[in-house]
Amino acid sequence: MGEVVLNIEGLVFGHKRPLVSQAVDLSANAGDFICLVGRNGTGKTTMLNTLIGVKKPLGGQISICGVPLGKISAREKSRFISFVPSKVEAVLNMRIRDLIAVGRSPYTNIFDRRTKADNAIIEDFIQKFGLSDIADSMIAEISDGERQKAMICRAMVQQTPVILLDEPTAFLDFFAKRKLLSDLKKIASEENRCIIFSCHDLEIAAKYCSHIWLLDDRKLESVTVDEFLNGGYLSKYQ
């Protein structure tokens, strides 16, 4: 069990009206691999957007490694939490290596000059993710799965303690989904990061995640995989 990296205290999220009836108190540790589960319309996306700062929380605070996110600048925040969208635009004229290098931008100057150390980190993760062969390909030339992997590699390069993924499995086939989640689980424990992802493929997700944040009945609570599978949630909506 790693140390606590993410601490959510009294968080209320929503648009103008709160989406939860009671404030959310949750914490997550380094090495955790958490699946955010909720039916359409329960506020999963709003919750993710609140964590990455697209939405301001209606109340409460989120802190990472003891630093309250509301108190620091947006740029500093991007050194604590990184985000992987569910789909990357394939239309960009960009090489995979450049896409991954975007992960260093919270640390570079206005001209995006990378130091030797920055480049070493980038090359290191390209190797670790087995992307060396396609690092010089254009984004349009590789598959959705490889793009997804490159974006996750980009989040690793950003070196944030917390990584959020919005439906990472949405555009992948059955086998690619399983491969992705097992890879992510390995990354979470080996690199000691806290990874949180939203997902609709509950059966696959339950196999790999360490626990589940369940958003249901206007409540968000953390449950173990066993509690989730046996707790009546799955039968409730049949």
């Binding site: 700062g53 985000f83 969208p85």
Partner: protein, 341 residues
């Protein structure tokens, strides 16, 4: 091959092309002026008559500088609009800024018949001011919308609607105006690089360079924005603020160019695609300077052709650049289907 080396080679090639076109451009015109006289004027070496000097300065050099600055400004504007709207069809005119300028000019040119005796001529300065006021008014409207609206598509829709309304207002004014004024307004909309004086063209240069330099400083943010707005916010960016900066910059560039040269279409849409195709990248640190150089070269081509194709006078520049550019762009889009931004 090393990537920065290949960029340097490509830059060198397009700069050489630009210089060649610039030399060709100063050699074209209704009178024959030898190149040696033009260089003689620039470097002050030879003793030319005052009239002759005037011709070189006010016709050839003014046109050359105007074409280069206008081409560069519109191309950078188009590039940034395509990025901010993340739409390959966007251009400097989607916000309706130049329609605002057109309205200002229409009020002056078409309305002059109502308020002034018919013999009075509308001065260039009045047209400039009218265009400036018109584009600033539309910019204010767009900024007010973009501070309230989160979705970029809504801003696009507002821009297109504003353009439509303004164009209709101009139509109504044309309907009630006399033939002479309608003709002079229509000629203005065809665009012209010839009506700018040397001193005015010199004013355009620093405006363009300063605005482009400021926008260049936002290249890193623009690169991240290409990956999506939600992602950009997660990387610590303030999207609304970036939009405001880009809109103000683009308005300054297109507003200034439109005021001096009329609404020059097509360049702002086409040149960013040519730059991406030549440099094979989406990186704004590369594309902004590339678009400036290529935009200047593109408009010089148009200018040279509009002077050469018709021996009795100058063809409207807008028509020439569209006829010249469209097939080229279609070809690039076909070659490059998968990567458009």
């Amino acid at each position: 091959m090393n990537r920065s080396l290949s960029y340097i080679i490509r830059y060198a090639l397009i700069i050489v092309a630009l210089i060649a076109l610039a030399i060709l451009d100063v050699c074209t015109g209704s009178n024959k002026i030898p190149l040696s006289d033009i260089f003689g004027y620039i470097f002050g070496g030879s003793d030319l008559s005052v009239d002759y000097q005037f011709t070189i300065r006010e016709f050839r050099l003014a046109r050359l500088i105007t074409a280069m600055v206008a081409g560069a400004a519109l191309s950078v504007s188009g590039l940034l609009m395509q990025t901010v709207f993340r739409n390959p069809l966007a251009g400097p005119y989607v916000l309706g800024i130049s329609n605002g300028a057109s309205l200002g000019v229409a009020v002056i040119v078409l309305g002059s018949g109502l308020f002034l005796p018919s013999s009075a001529d509308v001065s260039n300065l009045a047209i400039l001011i009218a265009a400036g006021v018109g584009s600033a008014a539309v910019l204010m409207l767009i900024l007010a919308v973009s501070m309230r609206v989160k979705d970029i598509l809504s801003i696009l829709i507002v821009g297109i609607l504003v353009s439509g309304v303004v164009a209709s207002v101009v139509n109504v004014m044309q309907f009630f105006s006399n033939e002479v004024n309608v003709k002079s307004y229509v000629v203005w909309t065809m665009g012209s690089l010839d009506s700018v004086s040397f001193n005015d063209s010199i004013v355009l240069v620093p405006v363009c360079i300063v605005v482009c330099a400021v926008l260049y400083l936002f290249s890193k943010k623009l690169n991240i924005l290409l990956l999506g707005e939600q992602f950009a916010v997660s990387m610590g960016m303030n999207i609304k603020w970036l939009r405001v900066v880009v809109f103000v910059g683009v308005s300054a560039l297109t507003g200034a160019v439109t005021a001096f040269c009329g609404p020059l279409g097509f360049i702002g849409l086409a040149v960013p695609h040519i730059s991406r195709w030549i440099f094979n990248t989406s990186n704004h640190f590369v594309l902004i300077p590339a678009s400036m150089i290529l935009g200047a070269a593109f408009l010089l081509c148009g200018d040279i052709l509009s002077h050469c194709l018709y021996s009795q006078g100058v063809l409207p520049i807008n028509a020439v650049i569209s006829i010249l550019g469209a097939p080229f762009i279609i070809w690039i889009v076909f070659k490059n289907q998968r990567t458009v931004i």
